[in-house]
Amino acid sequence: MRKTLITLGKTLIILGFLNPIPIGFIGLTRSARIIWDGSEYSSPYDYWWPGFILIIVGFILCRLSGGKPIALYNKKIWKEEAKPCVKGFAWAILGLLAFVAAFLLVVSLIVGIYYVFFSKYMPTLLPICGGVCVFAYLIYIGLRIYKNTK
């Protein structure tokens, strides 16, 4: 019984994640639409929540199966196992954030270069860039002279 429940729960979770490919194509979303608004025709891409319901039901069946999860198996082991895991999870999230930041930086650079050199803003932005460069160079020269004559 326990094994049947857990197998069913896992199968439902997998099927939930496989919506709409390939589960949506064999009628899950069509059934959802018939239940939801009574109409027969449905594209497999119409609804996101049938898969979500399957996932939730699968989770509930996993809990109802009565088997003890790793976290509740042995508190001591759980604490030992969880420490590196939580650490790894935190590092993974930080890594993802760093990746997103790097990604946005690169896209902003590409978009910025586009605006400066290739768009209708070029007549305004190019002289500004040139001006900033000249100004920075003047400050650099000034600093060199200041250091040499100090």
Binding site: K3, I14, P22, W78
Partner: protein, 124 residues
């Protein structure tokens, strides 16, 4: 010396976890794709690109990926009985099939949610 946990001492990866990792990567790729394409399309049509709607698709999909990561964490540590990890074949080769299917499913679902569901909720 701690007791051995069966789930942690076998070869292969549990299929449900692989499916969740596949879905996570699907949302992730879709987020990056939508975040980039919004910017680039606006650029190519000479529009101002730094609008919040361009970021919306990417942020929503990356957020969905975070939700799946949380589900995976909950599943492994609070929902999966430790001695019940062998009810599916636990082989990398077999696990890749549902994982790839989940990846493509997540891409479609991510596009649908960020282009239709969330804009409808926000009324934009």
């Amino acid at each position: 010396m701690s007791k051995k946990i069966p789930a942690h001492n076998e070869d292969g990866v549990e299929i449900v976890s692989m499916v969740m990792i596949g879905a996570l990567m699907g949302f992730w790729f879709t987020g990056i794709f939508l975040g980039t394409s919004g910017f680039l399309i606006d650029c190519m049509s000479g529009e101002w690109a730094w609008r919040w709607t361009n970021l919306l698709g990417g942020v929503v999909c990356i957020g969905l990926g975070a939700v799946v990561a949380l589900l995976l964490f909950l599943y492994i540590y609070f929902f999966l009985p430790h001695n019940m990890t062998k009810v599916f074949p636990r082989l990398w080769g077999f696990g890749f099939i549902p994982a790839l299917l989940a990846l493509f499913s997540a891409m479609i679902t991510g596009v649908q949610i960020s282009s239709w569901v969330v804009p409808k909720w926000l009324g934009v």
